[in-house]
Symmetry: C2
Subunit: 441 residues, 2 copies
């Protein structure tokens, strides 16, 4: 008999079925054994009477055993109906149980609230909880909506390499790789490659791991994360990229409303409010605003502190009913050499950060596309253009005006779901002292 | 005026339009200047008469300049129609040219056949050729079809980490990373994580970079490539995975027929023939066959040599009209510790390779899902189970029977397109002596 998805059992009342899944919990009532069985589609209550041979197996079963069960789907008696849960009006009367995989006793009650370190120590188990499954279902749908939407807008996906040569930008937070007889590095972003690819496909995107050797352990930082990157040619300026980003965020949000309503409910998360055009302000304006509205004087600083990001987000929420807000025009001196300076005041860039519920989730800009201007910009930053010869070819051989952004999938997931710690939205987070298990000091 | 896609200009005859793109080639005929302008949607011939101001700019233009052009779409005179190419019956009469990005003189004729090293030295330029764009368009559609098909079959995508801890399997071909005060490695596959994720989502897939520190420089090997990975729970045995793989390959092929016909034509590639169930044979049978049919005695060897893979493929093509063939039952001693041994003869595994037009593109198997059996298998291989404690949790806490495969996107692309060297199907190939540019010896 073919396997029936548990979520479809309510269409099989009175029928004999075969299902398979993991035991969630077992409850014995006298000689009756009840257990919850879950598969990807849902959870059903099963009941085993002492009349069937399966009773012996059932009496040994523990949570997380993988089993195949044959039985009959029954309506529950009226007084046993649980209308709070899906399939709460049926139960599976067990005829046969085949054990597919045994489990040892669980180290703790997986439904309990765990501290983050215990959660991380036991990921192969704790990722199976309803909460974790909801988070990573949402994450997979975000990645899907991102790519699907871009494909429909004529973007071409490409695979960016992660092993890169010498770090010509001299960044501090780069991981070093032993590459045969040479040293190489792990890419902090696919930046150079996506710009090169604009020359090839005009509009491109890439989804992949990036690596940051940040020593600090915070609720915002990851040493490895998934970067959602786009780059688009033939723009007028950075505002084209920002407008496109607004539309993309709305599409992702709509997709989640369609596919992840249950998961949002389970996690107590609210869908964000995203206006047709996300509001934006210059860094300097944001700083004046923070001073005027919140009494914090950060005017003139080259960037926003985390609490400032939260203030600006609060302001945008109150003023524009937007959970998102762009901050533009960071100082040229603090942004990478490829960032386009504003012609009106070249000390500031045509670059932007996107804040989502108080946290920066995305950084983008128009890029310099003129070869001479780019070489000049490198020199101003004290960089050696010869070290960028491969990248510079793209500009030597003609590039249109272009811009793009990089966005952290884990941060985006966490903000959508209102999770305080980005690690909750990261399947296997890498920390300074943890790669799956704790590292020796 | 909004930008019109060049591919749609045939619908605009008689109208004034604005287009943007890269100059492909310029030809001067007396005072008339002709140039080909390409964007993502197509290429059109533009003509500039001496009457317009743009004539001066046009006379300076070189291939790969990015320009915006205003003009009128005209039918070509009958004797000028080129019915061999799309848009060969129209031309753009130029009124205005705005230069968006200049290009220096190209180092060579990009339409010429280049040797692979020159191609790699100049990727930011050579990837722009028709041939390269066709290859990587096909690649992006393969990745799309892979994911789309899996999502429709109820698989959940997940992001696998690339930085992993100490290489407990002791593989020779692993890259080492300086991870703060510890040593880490780059993942050779997402194997452990996808198995862990079967416990979470039952059926999962992942697309991402994997890393092999292979010292040999061949037409088949890459030091970094994109792995398409699936893992599925509740299988009966490895043949379930093989059947699923057959279906998946057919879906990808159908998708390419729908979306990449032009690209296949341009590259002189033929769509493969894939029976509903791809034929399969055991390694020993394959070896006997090679001996009988081709006179090469490899009977008893633990694996197939490259020429043997070609022979088996040739046989499958002739015998079953299949461009794909599975080889199963490799020796347990030569396969990883998680591979399921065949109960009928445990010296061979329930594992398989998939050959596509003479090259192995995919390796898969049923996996051991019982904790004790897995620990035992590790010990038999001389491995220390304690070093796998994180991975082993998945099995300690219950796993269903499961299996899956890993497949190289670049090899798959190359085989679809009949490219001899997998590097032609790799955007930025990493070689022992090359990361974009040549490394010092």
């Amino acid at each position: 008999m073919d396997r029936t998805a548990i979520g479809e059992l309510n269409e099989k009342v009175g029928s004999e079925v075969r299902v398979a899944g993991s035991v969630s919990v077992r409850r014995d009532h006298g000689k009756l054994i009840f257990f919850d069985l879950r598969d990807q589609s849902g959870t059903v209550q099963a009941v085993v009477t002492p009349k069937v041979d399966a009773h012996k197996v059932a009496s040994e079963m523990r949570p997380e055993w993988a089993v195949r069960v044959g039985g009959v789907v029954n309506k529950r008696p009226d007084n046993m109906v649980n209308s709070e849960i899906p399939l709460g009006d049926i139960e599976l009367e067990v005829k046969e149980i085949e054990v597919l995989g045994r489990a040892q006793e669980l180290p703790f009650d997986t439904d309990a609230e765990l501290n983050i370190d215990t959660h991380l120590d036991y990921l192969p188990l704790t990722l199976r909880t309803k909460k974790s499954r909801a988070i990573f279902k949402v994450q997979s749908e975000i990645a899907y909506a991102f790519r699907d939407s871009l494909k429909k807008c004529g973007f071409t996906e490409f695979q960016a390499p992660k092993i890169i040569g010498e770090d010509a930008e001299g960044g501090a937070s780069v991981f070093e790789v032993e590459y045969f007889d040479n040293k190489a590095n792990l890419a902090q972003s696919p930046q150079f490659y996506k710009q090169i690819m604009v020359g090839v496909f005009e509009k491109v995107f890439s989804v992949g791991s990036v690596f940051r050797a940040e020593k600090h352990k915070t609720t915002r930082h990851l040493n490895e994360y998934t970067s959602l990157d786009i780059e688009m040619g033939y723009i007028e300026d950075h505002t084209d990229v920002m407008k496109f980003t607004s539309g993309l965020m709305r599409v992702i949000n709509e997709h989640l409303k369609e596919t992840c309503k249950e998961e949002f409910e389970l996690l107590g998360a609210e869908f964000p409010s995203i206006p047709e055009e996300i509001p934006y302000m210059k860094l300097r304006e944001a700083q004046e605003l923070i001073k005027a509205e919140f009494g914090e004087d950060g005017v003139g600083a080259p960037d926003l502190e985390p609490q400032h990001e939260r203030m600006i987000s609060e302001y945008a929420k109150n003023q524009f009913d937007s959970d998102f807000v762009f901050v533009t025009h960071f100082p040229t001196s603090k942004r990478p050499m490829y960032t386009y300076p504003d012609e009106e005041d070249p000390t500031y860039t045509k670059g932007f950060d996107l804040l989502f519920r108080g946290l920066e989730i995305l950084t983008g800009s128009q890029r310099i596309h003129d070869y001479d201007q780019l070489v000049e910009s490198m020199k101003k930053k004290g960089l050696v253009p010869e070290k960028f010869s491969f990248y510079l070819q793209a500009f030597k051989y003609g590039m249109p005006p272009h811009g793009g952004f990089g966005m952290g999938l884990e941060r985006l997931t966490a903000r959508f779901l209102g999770l305080d710690n980005v690690k909750e939205a990261t399947l296997f987070p890498r920390e300074i002292n943890r790669i799956d298990t704790l590292l020796s000091e």
